[in-house]
C-alpha cells in the first residue's frame, strides 16, 4: 500500500521492473541448452525445472513463476515440442495436494528424475481453473512408456461415480484398457474410454479438485502465454531468415515494403507481449496480479501468436508449407498450444470478468 489514496478505477502502471540479472543468466543458459539439444528433458530435470514453481514446503525450489516463464519462453523460441507447461502444471497440481496417493508419488519421482512427462489431453486448466474439454488429441502420438496423462474433466463423472464433476487424475498412458482418441466437448458423447480405470490413480476429486485447479490456473496461464510468445518469436526469426535470404525480381524480399512492415509490426507486438508476460509473472510472484489481466494477456498472446505464425507461413512462401520445415512446425505448435487453453472466445470472456 502506498500514499495513493485516490479512488480512480484504473491508473496506468508506469513502473518498470528491469530484467533480473539472475533470470537473464538463466535465459542465456536455457538458450544454450536448446542450441545443443532440442530434446533437453534430462537437462531440465537436472536443473530442477519441475520444482521451480513449487513452494519449499512441498519440496520445491520456490523460484516463482518468473523463472519457469523464462524457461518456457525460451522453449517456445526453440520451437520445442516437449510438454513443458503440461508437466510443470502437473507438478503444481501435485504440489497442491498435501498427502499424495502412492501412485502420484511415483509419478512425481518419475518427473523429477526425468523419466516421466505429463499431458493434459482435455486441455490445460484456464486462469480460473476451468476446463474446456475441447482439445483433440490422440495419446498414442506420445511416448507410451514414460508418459502420464492427467485427464481433468467433466466427462468422467458417471464412470467414477463421484458427486462432483471435476477431478484430478494421473493415469499411466500404458494402463490396461485405456485408450484416448478424440475428445469432444463435455456435452457431447465423449469417446474417452477409461476401461478398467484403477481408482488409485485419482489424486483428488470434487470440490478439492476445483480448489486445486483454481490454485494452479493463473500460473499455468502465464506459462502458456510465455510459450506462445516464444513460439511467435521463433516464427518471426524463421520468416526473417527467409525474407533476408530470398531475392525476387532482383530485390531482397526484406526490402519490399509490405513484407518488411508486416514483419516489423509482428516484432513490435511480440516484443510488447514478451515484456508483458515478464511483468505478469513478476506480478504473480509478488501477489499483485489479477486473474482477469492474466486471462487477457493469454487471450491476446494466443490471438497474436496464431496470426504471426500464419503470416510467417505466408512470408516463407511454399517452402514454409513443407511439413518438416520450421514455419510449418511452429504453426502447428502454436495451434495446439493455443487450443490447449480452450477456444479463444472463451479466453476473452474470462478476461472480461473485470466488467
Amino acid at each position: 500500500m502506498t500514499h495513493n489514496a485516490l479512488s480512480h478505477p484504473h491508473f496506468v502502471n508506469w513502473g518498470y521492473l528491469p530484467p533480473d540479472p539472475l533470470l537473464e543468466q538463466l535465459r542465456l543458459s536455457i538458450a544454450g541448452i536448446f542450441r545443443e539439444d532440442a530434446d533437453a528433458w534430462h537437462e531440465f530435470s537436472e536443473m530442477g525445472l519441475w520444482d521451480f514453481c513449487l513452494p519449499s514446503a512441498a519440496g520445491g525450489l520456490d523460484l516463482g513463476v518468473s523463472a519457469a516463464a523464462v524457461v518456457v519462453l525460451e522453449a517456445g523460441r526453440a520451437a520445442c515440442p516437449l510438454p513443458l507447461v503440461h508437466t510443470l502444471t502437473g507438478m503444481m497440481l501435485f504440489g497442491e495436494i498435501s498427502v499424495l496417493p502412492p501412485f502420484a508419488r511415483t509419478v512425481v519421482d518419475g518427473i523429477r528424475e526425468g523419466r516421466k512427462r505429463v499431458y493434459f489431453p482435455l486441455g490445460l486448466p484456464t486462469t480460473y481453473g476451468t476446463l474446456s474439454g475441447t482439445v483433440e488429441l490422440t495419446a498414442t502420438r506420445h511416448d507410451r512408456t514414460n508418459s502420464v496423462v492427467m485427464p481433468l474433466g467433466l466427462d468422467l463423472l458417471e464412470r467414477l461415480d463421484t458427486e462432483r464433476d471435476q477431478l484430478v487424475l494421473a493415469v499411466p498412458v500404458a494402463s490396461d484398457g485405456l485408450s484416448i482418441t478424440i475428445l469432444r466437448p463435455p456435452s457431447d458423447d465423449t469417446s474417452m474410454d477409461l476401461g478398467a480405470l484403477n481408482p488409485e490413480f485419482v489424486g483428488v476429486s470434487g470440490l478439492g479438485a476445483e480448489k486445486r485447479l483454481l490454485a494452479v490456473g493463473e500460473r499455468t496461464a502465464i506459462l502458456q502465454t510465455a510459450f506462445l510468445v516464444g513460439l511467435a518469436a521463433a516464427a518471426i526469426e524463421a520468416a526473417a531468415d527467409r525474407v533476408r535470404s530470398r531475392t525476387q525480381f532482383g530485390v531482397e524480399v526484406v526490402n519490399f515494403q509490405h513484407p518488411r512492415l508486416e514483419l516489423a509490426r509482428a516484432v513490435v507486438e511480440i516484443d510488447a507481449l514478451t515484456e508483458a508476460v515478464r511483468s505478469a509473472a513478476a506480478a504473480y510472484d509478488s501477489g499483485t496480479s489479477t486473474k482477469a489481466a492474466t486471462s487477457g494477456l493469454l487471450a491476446l498472446a494466443s490471438e497474436t501468436a496464431r496470426r504471426v505464425s500464419r503470416d510467417a507461413l505466408h512470408l516463407g512462401g511454399a517452402n514454409a508449407l513443407v511439413a518438416c520445415n520450421l514455419p510449418a512446425r511452429i504453426y502447428n505448435l502454436v495451434t495446439y498450444a493455443a487450443q490447449g487453453v480452450g477456444p479463444l472466445n472463451a479466453n476473452w470472456l474470462e478476461a472480461a470478468e473485470f466488467l
Binding site: 496506468v12 516484432v267 510488447a272 487471450a299 472466445n345
Partner: protein, 369 residues
Amino acid sequence: MTTDPLPFDPIALVREQVHGLLQAADCRTAAADRDPRPIHRLLGAQQLLAPHWPVRYGGRDLPISSMSAVVEEFALHDVPELLHTLSIQAVGTLLLLNGSEQMKERVLPALASGEAFACVLFSETPAGSDLSLITTTATPIDGGRWLISGRKEHSLFTPLATFGLCLARTLDNGFSLFLLPMDREGIHVEEIQALQDDPFHSTTFNNVIAEPEDVVGQLGMGWSLIMSTLAYERTGVDYLSKAESWFQATLARWDAGTVLQDRDSQITLARLRARLDVAASLVARVLYRLENGDLREDEAAATKWYTSQLAVDVASVAQEFASQRGTLDPTIDAARREAPGMLISGGTSEMMLETIARFRLDGRRQVMP
C-alpha cells in the same frame, strides 16, 4: 503493536497533488478554449509540471514516471495535454540534454513554472516524414547572428508558444536548431482549421534575426538533435494516457447500462483492456531507458506505434459505444476526430515500422534478441 510506516512513494504523491489541483481547477474552460496555460501555471507554481527535472530548473528531481502521472491526470481531466508534450517533454527535454547552461537557466524554469511555452517548428509542405527536404534557411550575418527565412506548417499550439524550436538549413547544407522567441520581428503565424479541436498553424519566417545564443547545441548538429527529440516524443505516455481515459469513459457507459451488453461487446472491451496493459509495459520500458540515459530509437518507435494504433482503436470503439443511443458525446466525438492524427504526429506509423525494420531486420543479427 507497532506497524511499519507506509513506504513513501513520491510519484503517488505527485499524482495526488496534481489530482487535487485539477479537481479544483477550471479544466472545463481549458478544454473548451483549447488553452491549458492557466492549468500549467497552477501546477508550475507547485513544481508539478516537470517534476522529473532538477530542482534548479523548476522540477522536483523525481523519476520520469512522475511526469507520466501528470500527463495521465491531464487526460483524465480532459485538459489539452499537447502543450505539455511540446513544452516539457519535447523542447524542454531537448534543452535539458543539449542546451547551453545559459539557455537552460533562461528557458527551463520558465517552462517548468508555466510562465513560458514552446512549440516545434520542423514540418514544411514538402517535408513530412522526410525532414531532409526542408527549405527554411539560416544565413550567417554579422556578429554571429543568422537570418532565417522560410515557412513551417502543421504546428500546434503555436500562438500560445513563447518559444519556437525551428529547424533550418545552415552552412554546407547542414541542419541547425534555433530556439526563437515567437514575438520576434518577422515571425507571422496563421491558423488553419483542422479535423481535431486544436488547429494547425502555418508560420512564416521573413528574414528573422537569430542571435548567437538562440542556437541550440552545436551548429550543424540539428539532425542528430532532432532524432533524439523525436525519440522523446515517442514515449507513448500521452497516447496511452488518452487511450486509457477514453477507455474509462467507455467503461462508464457500460456500467451505466447505456450500451448493448452482449458477448461481442464484452470481448471487444476485454481485448482493449489487454492491449492497454501490454502497452503500459512498453511505455514503462521506454521511461526506464530515458531515466537511465539509454533510450533506444527502435524501442521508442515501437512504443509510439503500438500506443498510437491502440489509441485510435479505443477511440473507434468508444465512438461506436457512444453512438448506440443515437446521441453525440462531445468528448468521445473529439476523440474520434483527434485519434487519426496520432498516427501522423511525432512520426507516421509507417516511419515507426521502418525504423524498427532498419534496426531489427537489416543485417543478419537476431530479430528478437
